[in-house]
Amino acid sequence: MAAAVFPAWLALQPGARTLRAFSTAVSPATRAPTPSPRTTERTSKYERPLRRKALPPRTEKMAVDQDWPSVYPVAAPFKPSVVPLPVRMGYPVKSGVPMAKEGNLELLKIPNFLHLTPVAIKKHCEALKGEKGFHTAHSEEQHYILHYLKFCTEWPAALDNDEKCEKHFPVEIETADYVSAGPSVRNPKARVVTLRVKLSSLNLDDHAKKKLIKLVGERYCKTTDVLTIRTDRCPLKRQNYDYAVYLLTVLYHESWKTEEWEKNKTEADMEEYVWENSSSEKNILETLLQIKAAEKNLEVNKEELLGTKEVEDYRKSVVSLKNEGDNESTLSQYKESVKRLLNLT
């Protein structure tokens, strides 16, 4: 034990000679500090940590039939000490040869595909084979597609039409992923999350629905009854997803609450025309009362007057006229109901 420890301890010492015992071609003489340094550098050279000699490159220890994919498993820059090929690159000087690979910047700059040798690709395809039983592909693109397909599962057979999907999964989340060839896999556009939900699948009563629509404003589409929330304010996709879900929760709960100031809702805020307590009701009531007074029929009360069928028809026609706007049918309906109400032939 002690013997094992001893060399390790000694190895920690900078400039320990024991380390050099493992290397083969090191001459102790080269390492000894020169006995006559210049006076200016005397202190620095003595105090400078003694640098160990560079090791021989890994290429010298590589067997010919080694497992190359484990040397270059991913895209990595060209490392001359790891690639055992004697490549040369560069423009030769006069009566010279192209530069060697050691310290060659040109070889570093260009993209290399040392991680995609046929052997490596074969291994990837074998790994991806899975249940699909695909014919092994050899190009990089197909490589990616297979990668995606392996992690997909079958579409559940029970959800065979849109209504069932709507019923069981009313909330739809839309995200986008971006792939590009480049130094980095990140794309800032990938953090956008869109949440879509139909309001009919939420449990909202009349007041809650109106309040929710007012709160979200433009994000609600009236024709398709779909609320769309698009978030991109957080840097990560999962954060945006959480935020979108949080927004939906908050909207739902807030719309069920009724605040103090909601009592001050005026006629101009109303989304649709409400006949009760409107000026139209007052007008017709006054008119009818005057008619009755003219006929000396004084014992009538308001509820009776408003409950007759003519007034009901009139109410419907006014509501449709206000909500749908003027068109031929609403106007003619209104005309007929007024004629009947006022007893004109």
């Binding site: 003027d326 068109n327 003619s332 032939t345």
Partner: protein, 395 residues
């Protein structure tokens, strides 16, 4: 009789094609009418000798009836459309065509119950279809029946281009329009001479330190005061309106309130004060009093109104439907009312109009009386009465 005389135009149209009624309605009606009307001489087609509007019925539809020129001056000192006035001068006779909307209104008016609150009838339609002339037809009828006519020829004139606005003496918040008020009072006097001595005011009105109108004096005095003292004209108009409204219920006379361009009462004005702040319609005394007049809290008469985009301010050119022109405020005030659509000519009316022009030698073009010529005119004018009149002026 005919149950559907009330709204034949609207029932026979295809659903959802409201704005294109001009060309579709005539075809449908023509199918009915062609069976009934045999080929007659042109004079019979375009004219009728029945000059009393009270006796106009469906058989006179499409035919022109003559208004004697003295009647014209008495009944319409103001209120006829300017192009019609020119036509009257040229032809030396005033002929109005009897059309369905007017017939419908006449039917309602004949059956008015004067004990019930006044019913409001609103004539609406696209530009140039004949709303103002239909209103004039009604006014003629009421004048013949000896009603008191309160006719405001164009309410738009009271909300734009008015100079000399004064602060009202009666109510500091409101503004007077002396010029417009005095012009209207003069015309009102001409139209209703005989009533002005019969109706007595029921209150004392003090104009200023020296002048006042006693209780029980005839209404004509108030009108005179307004005409002579232009400063008090607006107040005079207000008094006239108030008294008429109060007294029409008593049954001495029947009151017809006829306002052309009633949508001016509830829109915006183009008038500004000296400090360039805009004036709302209700700050004008004339408009304020007129609004009180078109409410249905009085009885003993009827209220006939037309909506007009021509001359209106801040309204798009294509707007003609009631809610578009009246706005929310106007609709709520006028509710409940009977909307009556005035549409373009049907083939019979078109034919009658062309015949009338040909008889008066108005169409000088040699091809004007041929079938092809008529078809071309029909196409160019799209059976719109106003457009046809303008086209024929060039021929």
């Amino acid at each position: 009789m005919r149950e559907r005389s009330g709204t034949p135009n609207l029932h026979e149209l295809d659903a959802g094609h409201f704005l294109h009624t001009g060309s579709q309605a005539p075809q449908n009606l023509a199918a009915h009418l062609d069976n009934q009307v045999p080929v007659e001489s042109p004079r019979a087609v375009s004219r009728t000798s029945e000059s009393d509007p009270a006796k106009h019925g469906e058989q006179h539809e499409g035919q022109h009836y003559n208004i004697p020129l003295q009647d014209l001056k008495a009944v319409f000192p103001h209120g006829l459309p300017p192009r019609f006035v020119m036509q009257v001068k040229t032809f030396n006779e005033a002929c109005l065509m009897v059309r369905k909307p007017a017939l419908e209104l006449l039917h309602y008016l004949k059956n008015t119950n004067f004990a019930h609150p006044a019913v409001r009838y609103v004539l609406y339609g696209e530009k140039g279809t004949g709303k103002t002339l239909s209103l004039c037809h009604i006014i003629h009828f009421c004048a013949k029946q000896d009603w008191l006519i309160l006719h405001i020829p164009d309410a738009h004139l009271w909300v734009k281009n008015c100079r000399n606005l004064l602060q009202s003496t009666y109510n500091k918040q409101r503004l007077d329009q002396p010029l417009e008020a005095s012009i209207w009072l003069k015309n009102f006097k001409t139209a209703n001479e005989r009533f002005l001595s019969q109706i007595k005011v029921q209150e004392k009105y003090v104009w200023n330190k020296r002048e006042s109108t006693e209780k029980g004096s005839p209404l004509g005095e108030v009108v005179e005061q307004g005409i002579t003292r232009v400063r008090n004209a607006t107040d005079a108009v207000g008094i006239v309106l108030k008294e008429l409204k109060r007294q029409s219920s008593s049954g001495i006379f029947h009151l017809l309130v006829a306002v052309d361009g009633v949508n001016a009462l509830w829109g915006r004005t183009t008038l500004k004060r000296e400090d360039k702040s805009p004036i709302a319609p209700e700050e004008l005394a004339l408009i304020y009093n007129l609004r009180k007049m078109v409410k249905n809290d009085w009885h003993g008469g009827a209220i006939v109104l037309t909506l007009s985009q021509t001359g209106s301010v801040f309204k798009p050119r294509k707007a003609f439907l009631p809610q578009e022109l009246l706005g929310k405020e106007g609709f709520d005030t006028l509710d409940p009312f009977i909307p009556i659509l005035v549409s373009n000519y049907n083939p019979k009316e078109f034919e009658s109009c062309i015949q009338y022009y040909l008889e008066n030698n108005w169409l000088q073009h040699e091809k004007a009386h041929t079938e092809d010529g008529k078809k071309e005119l029909l196409f160019l004018s799209n059976t719109n009465p106003g457009q046809l009149e303008r086209l024929c002026a060039y021929l």
